[in-house]
Symmetry: C2
Subunit: 366 residues, 2 copies
């Protein structure tokens, strides 16, 4: 009787852990954050020394690590495992969980990863990650702590956990895919606008690249980088409203044309403004032609009154313009353009951001 | 001892139900499908006659039904409950679950919804839906089946279920928001392209409306309607590649200009083609100027060889062109345009889709 009660109590504890895990896993749709949580939770619940998650590359019929915690993370990310090979490949192929108490005694064991990572695997619990009857990957925990061996009960708990992991990974992946679709669609249309003028072909994509270089140098967080990226993609979208005869004029603009051209940040703000979720990007688009000394347009904002994103894009935008051919002048070399940016430190550009940009440029394109 | 064991076993059963529910709730990011699942599961687990979910309108400080199952669904969707009012309003304000075994004896009970729906509420279990410490809504089950009353244990189980419901609703809502952001961003840019020519201002948005009218008439499923909508939004995106002097020419195009103009479906396909997730829309964009008798462009496809979406957009596109002013002619009245579409049934347009369109038009704009 007593042992029955303690058995039931243990089961309750396991079930409560699973419920807790399901809530924790659902708490984010950010795939990177999720994978971190999943590995941590798996190690904690299974009392394991290490934990990994693999996904399946259907085209190549291979498995690859999507994440591994700790210092070995980098090395293992390059490792790919053919379907059917090793413990993980076996689990993927058979869509069945596998408990290997002692890897040295299992002919399926493939020591390649250990050799690369210097990790010594003793025992493995590996489970298929299934979503709606389809396998999307494999998860494993390695070495039960305290020199113990994984048990059949561990396998049961880990299999139940795998259901929660699989569905959370699937949802976060779907969210990521939609987010990438959103960005790539906007980029494709903006690139077509850039390409109307052969001299600005690829301009927005390069401005994004430079802006992100600066953003990383400024140590912006993930969300900050995302906002900056989207602002940079859209900074010239208002050029849709500029007639071709001005936009693609093979020579310098006269003052009437130039005044019209100067309205593109306002047109861009008008296009993006009605989209509620992008409202916070509008200032970056509207003010990307302001100058640090207050002599820019459209509002003559000065210094730090210019929104931060706009100050970043101003530098990225000018640098790309300088290093691109124009109908009326050839492109500058990188060092000339850097010198020009430096010269306009404090007059045209935010001096601190200029320093960050130049440092980042020299690091990435030495 | 025996009663202890049966108590523990009951607990295990409840926990297993919760785990099952968490997997079911996570299995879709489609908010409508999710809400259906949630109500069904809540009624089943709580043995209740009815179930509803409310969300909070923060601006108005009110609660509104986001879903209710059964025939009363439509009526209740219009009902709004002020914060603090009735049982549901109380739960939202106090962020605490509430068990009301007999509503007639509770002064918070507000009978307005029953009057509207003719449902007779006896007892209520209502719980706050919390995500990361923030209230996002309220869920309730009504009338325990078999004339029983909800118990404290029911309240406990339903509160635990509410955690799963809340996080699933939050995730599906985030997915929906991102999806809306994606579509509205594309629409905003396309509208700016349309607006370059005052005669085509709003064109793409109207083509979307007509195309969806047809799609609904064809009883396309949710995904089919979504693909059609996105194809219609993007059908003229290739006009980015057409010079203004042709695009906005105040008169008929000469044959050289017309030949260039005819390339816009190809340009559109080139813009959208590289986006992997939109590959299936490319045929709809590329072929929206094909004619049913094979005399269209760019490929002279004939009959059902023209992709279905392109056949739909062709009709929607022509109808909007006919009912819009052009520099060289005034717009047609609706009945004239319908007559013109009918006249070109089988030559220009798919005859079956023409019939569906005209029927839908007469139903929606009688």
């Amino acid at each position: 009787m007593k042992s029955k009660i303690s058995e039931l109590k243990k089961k309750i504890k396991n079930l409560e852990s699973l419920i807790d895990a399901s809530l924790v896993f659902s708490s984010t749709l950010d795939i990177d954050a999720l994978l971190d949580i999943i590995l941590q939770k798996a190690e904690e619940l299974m009392d394991a020394e290490a934990s990994s998650v693999f996904r399946i590359d259907e085209e190549k019929n291979e498995l690859y690590f999507i994440t591994a915690r700790g210092e070995k993370g980098k090395e293992v990310k390059e490792i790919r495992i053919p379907m059917g090979k090793g413990i993980v490949g076996w689990v993927a192929q058979h869509k069945k969980p596998l408990l290997v108490p002692d890897v040295t005694k299992d002919p399926r064991w493939f020591s390649g990863v250990d050799k690369k990572t210097k990790f010594v695997t003793r025992s493995i619990l590996a489970v298929p990650l299934m979503v709606k009857g389809k396998i999307i990957g494999v998860a494993e925990v390695l070495n039960k702590r305290g020199n113990k061996k994984f048990t059949k009960e561990d396998l049961e708990v880990y299999s139940a956990l795998a259901n929660q992991m699989a569905i959370a990974i699937e949802n976060a992946s779907l969210y990521k895919e939609l987010d990438e679709l959103f960005l790539s669609s906007i980029r494709a249309i903006v690139e077509a606008i850039d390409a109307k003028d052969p001299y600005t072909k690829g301009h927005s994509a390069r401005v994004v690249e430079y802006a992100l270089l600066i953003g990383e140098g400024m140590k912006l967080d993930k969300e900050g980088l995302k906002d900056l990226e989207l602002s940079a993609v859209l900074h010239d979208v208002g050029k849709i409203g500029i007639p071709d005869r001005i936009l693609s004029k093979p020579g310098l603009l006269n003052s009437e044309e130039y005044n019209y051209m100067k309205r593109h940040p306002e047109f861009g703000a008008e296009i993006v403004g009605p989209i509620k979720k992008l409202k916070n990007l509008v200032p970056n688009i509207l003010h990307h032609h302001e100058k640090y000394d207050g002599t820019g347009y459209p509002m003559g904002l000065k210094g730090k009154n210019i929104p931060m994103g706009a100050r970043v894009i101003a530098i990225a935008d000018s640098f790309d313009a300088m290093t691109s051919d124009r109908p009326y002048r050839p492109k500058m070399q990188t060092d000339e353009a850097i010198a020009e940016i430096k010269k306009n430190r404090r007059t045209q550009f935010d001096p601190e951001i200029v320093d960050i940009f130049i440092k980042a440029l020299q690091k990435h394109f030495p």
